[in-house]
Homo-oligomer: 304 residues x 4
């Protein structure tokens, strides 16, 4: 009984989001911003976009944010869900610059791009589909002129490691194997994310230098893919394609402004439990995955 009560409390407390920005907003709403959490905001007027940097700089901040220490850059581009190609190009350029800032500043960078997720699951296909459009050049490097190799440029390779349910192998193990063999200067990991708020779907890009933590992303990769496990800097780029269904209901319940009575709580908790593994999205998700995979690939191709 007490155990059930605890479980109910956990169900109500856990607002799942992959966005550091939303995790920070939640702490602000609760007047609970910890030391070591620092936020900078930059309005890009010409691009109709806002860039926010969330720096998680203490263990306490990381614990409260439920995110590893590091830098999380968010591009909020409200019309990214639209069809305007020019706007998508502008955002690709913005994204390209944000990625470059997190990359090691060498003259020449060998970058291994990893498209996480399951191509056969629409909500999880953003990573693999982005890989499809990359202009990889690692294999044609031997044919480059000597002069060209001297100037700063990016060498691209890409893999789609698949998901454990389909390969029988931990995604992290596949990525580690390839990384050890290729020895790139950095790894760029692409993933579909889950947001807390509906209006973030398709319109927010998160770039971080913390890699992918266990249990994050739509596909829930269990083992970390980060600089510690791979031995090179790992940059993660993701876009929210779904909202966790339980999170939406929880937020709606909390919007009532009072804690519900115990009977109501029990019923609501049952509802929340049933909602596990369910997500909320729109009928546009197939089209958005297609379109945003180009926005991401253009940004990465633009690194060269």
């Amino acid at each position: 009984m007490d155990r059930q009560k605890n479980k109910n409390r956990i169900l109500f407390a856990e607002a799942r989001t992959d966005l550091a920005l939303e995790a920070g907003e939640r702490l602000q709403d609760d007047n609970a911003v910890p030391q070591g959490l620092r936020v900078e905001t930059l309005q890009c007027e010409d691009a109709d976009a806002v860039i926010t940097r969330v720096h998680v700089e203490s263990g306490e901040a990381a614990r409260r944010m439920k995110k590893p220490m590091g830098t999380y850059i968010t591009i909020e581009a409200p019309t990214l869900a639209g069809e305007d190609e020019g706007y998508h190009q502008t955002v690709s350029g913005l994204l390209s610059r944000q990625i470059r800032e997190l990359l090691p500043g060498a003259e020449r960078t060998e970058l291994l791009v990893v498209g996480l997720g399951n191509r056969a699951v629409t909500a999880d296909a953003l990573g693999p589909k982005t890989i499809d459009h990359l202009a990889v050049n690692r294999h044609i490097l031997p044919f480059y002129k000597e002069e060209m190799k001297k100037k700063p440029f990016t060498v691209l390779s890409a893999i789609e490691p698949g998901v454990m349910a389909k390969t029988g192998i931990e995604t992290a193990q596949v990525v580690q194997s390839i990384t050890r063999s290729l020895e790139p200067d950095a790894v760029l990991v692409l993933d579909s994310l889950a947001a807390r708020s509906i209006h973030r779907l398709y319109t927010t890009i998160q770039i971080s230098n913390t890699g992918i933590a266990p249990g994050s992303g739509v596909g829930n990769h269990r083992n970390a893919i980060d600089s510690q496990t791979l031995g090179v800097p790992v940059i993660a780029v993701g876009i929210p394609m779904v909202v966790d269904a339980a999170t939406i209901v929880r937020d709606a319940l909390n919007d009532g402004g009072r804690h519900p009575g115990e009977g109501a709580e029990r019923k609501a908790a049952a509802c929340l439990e049933e909602l596990q593994n369910m997500y909320v999205t729109t009928k546009e998700i197939d089209e958005m995955t297609e379109r945003l995979s180009f926005t991401l690939s253009e940004a990465i191709n633009g690194l060269m």
Copy 2:
């Protein structure tokens, strides 16, 4: 202000479901079963399935159910979301028999199958994907032996009319044009449905003789596709692939057992409005659409 209150009330009242079974359950829960609503239930022990027939026999019942008068047969097959091929074959057989009962009882039946929905939108692709697996035979009929033509059999043809946003043409107009030209004995319309309850996803099949009403289905066809508009009997077959997101939140709020205060109501109403055009589903939807399209096509091929 009063207008907003009204709107809030409507938002709270409208539990959207394409399933007559759920609409009937709601009326029962509210102790509001009207005259002219009749329900029969049959347990198929050997198939681990329940067949329910909802007869909407009065205008009052139709108004309260928000469904046209007619017969709605529901096959509840709880393990249909699983991979057991034998079970899918059993359910295909059950479905085949239910469809046949609603078909005109002629010796030979020319049946035009219509796969409603948008192939490129996973949540709306069940109809078009089912069409892909049909063993159509109308075009090879001239090569059939005379003897064969005499015994009772089914002549199948199939079309995928597309969706208005992609064709610029009302779906109903496309279906009418083809129906007038082919003059089939009956039209069988396939569609993805929206349920009210999560546990109905992928596990319930609805067969009705009322056709498709405006605003129903995941794709929200605006004009009716029914026996009145087509001039021949129209049987509709559908499976819930999504739950309306607002419906889930509304049900969770109502589970609190009391009407919320006005402030809370306003907030919750805002949340419900934001949820319009959002749906709840699972990561399995791509795979389920693929698998259930075979379950449906096998049932239709089994009519021959």
Copy 3:
């Protein structure tokens, strides 16, 4: 025996091509240009493209060309098989102008676009895939301002009729039904073509005002889709995606410059017979279908 000889002769004689340009070249090679066959050529220097108009103006010319009387415009764009987006845009513009010239010159044109072929067969998918990218506007016409409706503009709708093996219905019957119901000013039919020569794959666009003749195209639509059967002008646009395998072998054999001996002829004829329903293409066909579907759709969207 004589029958076999005849058959051999036919097998050697029939060089199958959907391109009037190639049919004309063959007659020129054989010094057999009939009266009523007139050819104009225009070099588009800025676009690196050649536009040729073949006018088939007599019954004799039609018989020898194995093509209906009418005008066949060919855009030869040698680098269309490449990735240069700017070049594809230029060719879309050229194509747009050629289509407009064949359209009835009214102030406002209602155009029904028909994507022929089978989406599930790569070699035959160009039509359906082009339809996917069209900016249809017929359904939003009621929301247009009065002023706009007065200036010359194009009203677009689109259908994908499917193929008979999948629908059980003659493609021509589906197109006729919809055309009768919509009453457009013209019908634009898109199709994958078969060329005689490999270097035409993906690089040649044919526009004609003769519609689609029985047996042409990759999908071999059996009944005519033309102005006579539809009652409105029919413009056909197609791109060669394959070469008939028998044609390639036949041409190689004929390149020997002598008629082979009877034994050799028999063997070669057996080989040609085995090659029926086989086609020659490249590994790039999937990618080319995707890319060229955008080149065609941009041209059609550019009519508005």
Copy 4:
């Protein structure tokens, strides 16, 4: 000039086939069967299939066959291009047994399955599509009961390494990395093949213990994937999905029974050169790839 002559000779001589069976037949036709080439044939009457084992047992045989030394098993199943599910199951069973014979005979076998080829190129997609249907179990092994682990069984994992043009990485390097990390007992490599003869398309399965040689398969993997490079036994399974276009023309020319004159030879050689990278196939290739991917996956799942 002489160089051109040589090149012409090579063009005429090289009949490209991935099937050891066809390479052996060619040597037989030329009365040039070398020592160390041994062929056994077994008629499976109940399965309407012929199993042939070609043993390449000497360096001379390998050189003449243009195939590495080893065992090549061929299942010729003439109706495998058809839809009969029962027949496909029978052939899956036959294939399962042939694979098992080449596997190391341990009590428990960890098998890594590699789906070679490019999912986006129909002619090259058989490997990746087969991977999609595998019942991998390596990741759930920790949850198996102890008793079960003791009896002989197969542990399956699977990867899709992609193609170099899309990843920038040699396919062989990807496979090596994963193999080193997983340390399986054997690797099973799946690939689309090119045959010499049209009637082998979709109806012949080759199983060999020689791995994949450079330049073989539709995708032309340049580096070897074999027991020497991977350090464990490598079994390759493939089905011809295309015929090399130049091979067909060459065979047709040779069927003439005489060597052509020099002028004719020059023309024919030019034709053959133009045909490089072209292949011959049928409109059914998309459907066949889908269906045969299930036949292969059932055989592999049947190993467990």
